[in-house]
């Protein structure tokens, strides 16, 4: 039975590199997706029937597009858009190759989360702001998004943890990261200890994301006296 220090001497660098790759695959596509997803979510909210700028046809088309993207299991989406990925990134594999499918998968998910957060803002607050003579962009940027901020921050945790799951799948088809390590060592080589270490790191990442977002959401929320 090798000691813990021997284990880290042998696999520490591998796990560290895998963690780094996972974090890059997690944060870079999520950041891009949030820029697109917030815009899409706001448009979905505004164009819904009975909302501030109802355009039912556009709303329906965007809704379908979002639903279609969300229908694909991530692994199917990833392999089916490889030609597109090659076109955009110049490669269909590696960390770079995961960015387009991760963005395409996360953006509609984020759009729905944002739409839901905006819908939770009390209707009367939105009407009161309209009654003050605010334009629609003013309502969105000065009232809706700031009012929805705690909910949006909680949504970030849900999105990041979902994307973390996707990065592990991406890893399994050659993009590297902790998922790749867990599959290569744990599944193909029966080295359970490496797999367990990868899983522990994933668990820690999830806990950190959730705790950080919870803390931040409480910090920015002024709805309770605490």
């Amino acid at each position: 039975m090798p000691s813990l220090s021997e284990f880290f001497a042998e696999y520490g660098e591998l796990l560290l590199q895998g963690t780094g790759e996972t974090l890059v695959m997690l944060f870079v596509p999520t950041l891009i997706s949030y820029v697109l997803g917030i815009a899409l979510g706001v448009v979905l909210y505004l164009t819904a029937p009975g909302s501030l700028r109802p355009v039912p046809a556009l709303n329906a088309v965007l809704g379908w597009a979002v639903n279609i993207c969300r229908s694909f299991p991530f692994i199917v989406l990833m392999v089916s858009i490889i030609p597109l990925t090659r076109l955009i990134m110049g490669t269909g594999s590696g960390i770079l190759g995961t960015i387009p499918p991760l963005v395409l998968s996360a953006t509609p998910f984020i759009a729905r989360m944002v739409e839901q957060s905006l819908a939770e803002v009390p209707h009367e607050s939105v009407e009161a702001v309209e009654a003050c003579g605010a334009s629609v962009p003013r309502v969105v940027f000065s009232a809706l998004l700031p009012e929805a901020l705690p909910s949006l921050v909680r949504g970030v945790a849900v999105v990041l943890i979902a994307v973390l799951g996707y990065t592990a799948i991406a890893g399994a088809v050659g993009a590297g990261g902790l998922g790749d390590i867990a599959v290569r060592y744990g599944y193909y080589r029966y080295q359970s200890d490496v797999m367990i270490a990868a899983v522990v790191i994933l668990v820690v990442i999830v806990q950190l994301i959730q705790s950080a977002c919870d803390l931040l959401a409480r910090r920015v929320d002024h709805r309770s006296n605490s």
């Binding site: 009390p122 009367e124 607050s125 009407e127 009161a128 702001v129 309209e130 009654a131 003050c132 003579g133 605010a134 334009s135 003013r138 000065s142 009232a143 700031p146 009012e147 901020l149 705690p150 920015v220 929320d221 002024h222 709805r223 309770s224 006296n225």
Partner: protein
């Protein structure tokens, strides 16, 4: 003054769609405190929301100082809405902004920024409603009556000619109701702002209104000075609202 002429509002496109408002005509003089009273579903909220165009009337006109406002859009609509500020049953304050930032919102809406002068004026208005010491609080730290006073200060920040009160005291206890009503009466007397009060409470009408219109099923069934209507209610709706009927009949 506001002249509402033959106003109709129906929901749905069919010609036989139910009418929330059916041929309503009301004149509201400048400086008046006008009560619009009726049971739930009588159309009074729809009426007041048509006045500031949160809802578009199906037909009819709303003349404000002789100008029909029902076709306004864009910047003209937004400028008009500041002339007819509104306060709501559940206050409609922004929970993530301080009291002061809420009162400054009309300035932000009008000009895209809040100047030091704006902030000073907002503090004066908060002082007027007795909330200056809570300028840095958040709405959740205030009672309902205090939140409604902040909402009144926000409405006044629009420098309005008319204030629409949509069930503004229905969510408040009697003591807070009296405070808010006294404040509205004081504002009406001191600044001459016309106040339009939507309520289902005759008590509210009796306390602050000069004139009253009774709505039932989207129609005006009675109108007159508060003294006359209270002395001799003609319509069944007014009698019920005044509790002049045997409740157990």
């Amino acid at each position: 003054m506001i002249q509402i002429k033959n106003l109709c509002k129906s929901y749905g496109a069919q010609p036989d769609a139910p009418h929330a408002l059916d041929d309503v005509s009301i004149d509201i003089a400048d400086g008046d405190v006008m009560g619009i009273i009726g049971m739930s579903g009588a159309g009074k909220s729809t009426l007041v929301r048509c006045i500031n165009l949160l809802e578009r009337p199906t037909s009819g006109q709303i003349l404000v100082d002789g100008q029909d406002v029902t076709g306004l859009t864009g910047a003209a609509l937004r400028a008009y809405r500041r002339r007819v500020a509104m306060i709501f049953q559940n206050f409609g304050l922004l929970a993530q902004k301080t009291v002061l930032a809420n009162v400054c919102f009309p300035y932000l809406a009008a000009t895209g920024r809040v100047t030091a002068q704006n902030r000073e004026r907002a503090l004066q208005l908060l002082d007027l409603v007795g909330m200056a010491d809570r300028a840095d609080s958040y709405p959740s730290q205030l009672s309902g009556g205090q939140q409604q006073r902040v909402a009144i200060a926000r409405a006044l920040a629009c420098e309005p000619e008319y204030i629409l009160c949509d069930e503004a005291t229905s969510a408040l206890d009697p003591a807070s109701t009296n405070t808010v009503l006294k404040l509205l009466r004081q504002i009406n007397r001191e600044t001459g702002v016309t106040v339009i009060v939507i309520t289902h409470s005759m008590g509210v009408v009796e306390k602050i209104c000069k004139n009253v219109v009774v709505l039932e099923h989207g129609r005006v069934v009675e109108r007159g000075s508060v003294a006359d209507v209270f002395a001799a209610p003609q319509s069944q709706a007014a009698k019920v609202l005044l509790e002049r009927v045997d409740w157990d009949a």
